[in-house]
């Protein structure tokens, strides 16, 4: 078996991974850094973020206000020390991006421009037109090319973390191009694999967001934190999950049910007016709108589309002129990717899964409880997002905690021994497993796509916008069944060269683990907080649940749940007030 | 090719030649190639034409009109041979034939106009 060796290894080449790699290369140019990514780095999902990145920029704003917005937005489940570090460094990191060439939008005098954003009380969201994530990712990627210490493994799929003697020692990965299975050993590993939206049937997330890193860490014995908190966005296109921005409603779009009725008036969101009114009706908070959709569906007043129930977003009354000047991107998306013209047609929408608040348990430096293992980005849960992430906090999070994880991993790796032989033995076992269970396996009856679709359905029906003990238990049972059926999958493709059926199968197995942990955590949290809404426990319960859930895998494969208190520094829990 | 490559020079000559060809050749072609021979327009007399051509400024003009478009042709034709016929292995020969041709043409033009 081939193997190669580095000092610090990044799993993932998205925003977080690249930022971390550069951090390592800058703090200690003598270290060799490897970036292993299953897609070319510039294809990573950070590329899709549109809106912007939050960081205090104006004299009328302050770090404390950004911190408070973040904490209250997260329904007080954020670790406040982490939030304080985050808001301070967010600004510095965004400036660093500017120095690296990020084409931030500007004021006429040449200063960085900022825009308002949902849940932020001051204008502090930096943006690069409506392609912020795209520009950030390409800036990071192109800048990373300058460092010769960074070695890239493009289109290598990591299947396992090597942990021996309580210390991480590298990974096993498949080179997609050739099918070669190889051990890449290292003194520290930073997992930056992004979110897991694909666990759900409808999501804004790309095809590559399968929670790989969460499952890798979980299987290596590292706890996952706050997995029950999954953010929905109320207006996504069905089937594709393409996001229709809040601006469409801010400009005066209506939400209609199957009778053409503005149904939000039935959900304590104010009375319909012809034009948009802040914080009423269509401009209510994201979670409330998503919840209203579920209720409307229960009443049988949604429209049955080819991909499940939808409601309509109506922009027709706004007229061609307003749509073309104020919402050109919305129209472009609808026309280009859905073949619908919002000037003349109703847009079918539904709530779609958007972001994962939970993830691999880390401290403020990105370190996990396993020695040498770090995590950063959406895959990690530091926890600054608490029970609900604010829009535009995720991009700066990648930078801040990517850089922090990079620096601490570099420091850790500087005085470690290289990986031992036990790691290589493990790698050999992993190679055997991959060959036997997938590549050389004959027979089997289950199709990857079938199990995946059943899983997605089960997770949505059980751990969707509203949850109850009953639905969650049903999901848990279904997932258990699917876990048992998984070994019986049949693969059409036994080739080594770019075998994407193999990677889909591996991703499916990762997703099954992640889905199970989401459902388990949701089942145990008997309260409603932020994105986690239990109809059987409607209120927030600070006495019992002002705490992070930690789920760990036991030897026998079952999971174990614990709670960890939330760090409160200066902002005692209060009510999260929106609307009136 | 290293820093002292002459490609930028030839490219510039190609471009300027392209401009000259675009602006000036159509009318010349129309007058001398079609309108005069076919009698659409009464051609100028020999004497007038000679007198005109002997004016220093017109000599210079004719020199530019002949030389630069040749460099335009040389560069374009060279790449057409490369790409259209995929004969890159004949590189040296093609360069000699094209740019060489343009240089010879330029010398001829200079000689003819000088001795006019």
């Amino acid at each position: 078996m081939d193997s190669s060796s580095h000092d610090v290894l990044l799993v993932g080449g998205g925003g977080a991974g690249l930022r971390a790699a550069i951090a390592v290369a800058e703090v200690n140019p003598k270290l060799s850094v490897a970036v292993v990514s299953k897609v070319y780095p510039m294809r990573s999902h950070t590329v899709s973020a549109e809106g912007g990145a939050a960081g205090v920029a104006r004299p009328d704003d302050s770090l404390d206000e950004h911190a408070y917005d973040t904490i209250s937005g997260g329904d007080w489940l954020c670790d406040q020390d982490a939030v304080e570090a985050f808001v301070k460094e967010a600004r510095e990191e965004l400036l660093q991006m500017e120095h690296w060439g990020c084409p931030w939008s500007r004021e006429p005098d040449g200063r960085i421009a900022v825009r308002p954003f949902g849940g932020m009380k001051k204008e502090r969201t930096w943006f690069a037109a409506d392609k912020t994530g795209f520009h950030m990712l390409h800036t990071l990627f192109q800048t990373s090319l300058k460092y010769n210490a960074i070695t890239r493994y493009d289109e290598w799929f990591v299947t396992k973390l090597l942990v021996d003697d309580g210390r991480v020692q590298g990974v096993v990965a498949i080179e997609l191009m050739s099918g070669k299975i190889q051990a890449i050993t290292s003194k520290a590993v930073i997992v930056c694999t992004g979110g897991c939206g694909k666990v759900f049937p409808f999501t804004t997330n790309a095809n590559i967001k399968n929670g790989d890193g969460m499952a890798l860490a979980y299987r290596a014995g590292c706890p996952l934190k706050d997995m029950e908190f999954v953010q929905y966005h109320p207006t996504g296109l069905p089937f594709t999950g393409i996001l229709i921005t809040e601006a469409a409603r801010a400009e005066g779009g209506y939400m209609l049910n199957k009778d053409g009725y503005r149904y939000l008036q039935d959900y304590d969101l104010g009375k319909p007016q012809p034009g948009p009114v802040l914080r009423t009706m269509e401009l209510g908070p994201r979670d409330r709108l998503s919840q209203a959709f579920v209720k409307e569906n229960e009443k049988g007043r949604t429209i049955e589309g080819p991909y499940g129930p939808v409601v309509h977003l109506d922009l027709r009354h706004l007229g061609a002129k307003l749509i073309n000047t104020k919402l050109p991107f919305v129209r472009e998306l609808c026309l280009k990717y859905q073949n619908i013209d919002p000037i003349k047609e109703l847009i079918p929408v539904r709530p779609v899964v958007h972001y994962m608040m939970g993830g691999v348990h880390t401290n403020m430096n990105g370190a996990t409880p396993i020695k040498g293992l770090y995590a950063a980005g959406e895959v990690a849960c530091v926890s600054i997002n608490g029970a609900n992430r604010l829009g535009s906090n995720s991009l700066p999070e990648l930078l801040v905690f990517g850089a922090r994880a990079g620096k601490s991993a570099a420091a850790f790796a500087s005085d470690q021994r290289p990986a031992g032989s036990a790691a290589l033995t493990q790698a050999m076992d992993e190679q055997r497993r991959l060959e036997e269970q997938f590549l050389r396996k004959a027979g089997g009856r289950e199709r990857v796509a079938t199990i995946r679709e059943e899983m997605q359905k089960a997770v949505e029906s059980g751990a969707g916008i509203y949850r109850t003990a009953k639905t969650l238990q049903e999901s848990a049972n279904k997932l258990q069944e699917l876990q048992e059926r998984f070994p019986n999958i049949a693969l059409d493709d036994h080739s080594r060269t770019f075998n994407t059926e193999l990677t889909s199968a591996l991703e499916l197995s990762f997703m099954l683990d992640v889905a199970t942990s989401i459902v388990q955590c949701a089942l145990h949290r008997k309260e409603s907080r932020g994105a986690h809404q239990r109809t059987d426990f409607p209120g927030r319960n600070d006495t019992e649940y002002l705490a992070h859930s930690l789920v760990t895998r036991k030897e026998d494969g079952s999971s174990q749940l614990k709670y960890l208190p939330v760090t409160i520094t200066r902002w005692p829990p209060g009510q999260r007030v929106y609307g009136r | 090719m290293g820093k002292r490559s002459f490609v930028p020079l030839f490219w510039t000559l190609f471009s300027v030649g392209g401009v000259v060809a675009a602006f000036l050749i159509p009318i010349h072609l129309f007058l001398f190639g079609l309108a005069f021979p076919l009698g659409w327009i009464q051609p100028p007399t020999y004497e007038r034409l000679l007198a005109l051509a002997r004016l220093p400024l017109v000599r210079l003009y004719l020199f530019v009109l002949c030389s630069l478009p040749l460099f335009h042709w040389a560069h374009r034709f060279r790449y057409t041979l490369y790409d259209g016929l995929q004969v890159k292995h004949l590189n040296e020969l093609i360069i000699l034939g094209t740019y060489g041709g343009a240089i010879v043409g330029t010398l001829v033009a200079g000689y003819l106009l000088w001795s006019l």
């Binding site: - | 401009v19 000036l24 327009i41 100028p44 034409l49 478009p69 042709w73 995929q86 003819l112 106009l113």
Partner: protein
């Protein structure tokens, strides 16, 4: 490939397509492209004829009419018509491409391509008029 691929037991053959010799017939834009490039031959042809004409001019009042006669031959007329068409094609493509190479900005906004190309055409008409006027004797 700039970097030589490393073929190992895991790197089987990549399939490489060869561009056909007649690639320029594959798609309409390519045909147009090759016609544009071929226009240069007619440019050169024009120069050769013009040089011959200058030579005839220098050879005296007897040689010149003989040269003029030769231009009336049908084959020459056909060649000249063809040349004119090709050169006009060159002129049009050349003018339309100028905006690509030169970016003009007025108060920070990039001028639309048409606005850059249009003056070319105007200037072209004027220059052609002046030349015709001088040659035909005003």
């Amino acid at each position: 490939m700039t970097e030589k691929p490393v073929y190992t037991e895991f790197h089987p053959r990549w399939y490489r397509t060869r561009v056909s010799t007649y690639w320029w017939l594959d798609r309409t834009p390519y045909v147009k492209f090759i016609l544009r490039e071929l226009s240069s031959i007619f440019v050169a042809f024009f120069v050769v004829i013009t040089l011959l004409q200058i030579r005839a001019l220098g050879q005296g009042p007897q040689a010149y009419p003989a040269f003029q006669q030769r231009l009336q031959a049908p084959i020459m007329v056909i060649l000249n018509i063809l040349s004119l068409l090709f050169v006009l094609f060159h002129t049009i493509t050349w003018f339309n491409l100028t905006p690509k190479a030169i970016v003009l900005r007025v108060r920070g906004r990039r001028l639309p391509d048409l606005l850059i190309a249009a003056p070319n055409y105007v200037a072209w008409l004027v220059v052609s008029g002046v030349i015709a006027w001088i040659v035909t004797g005003g």
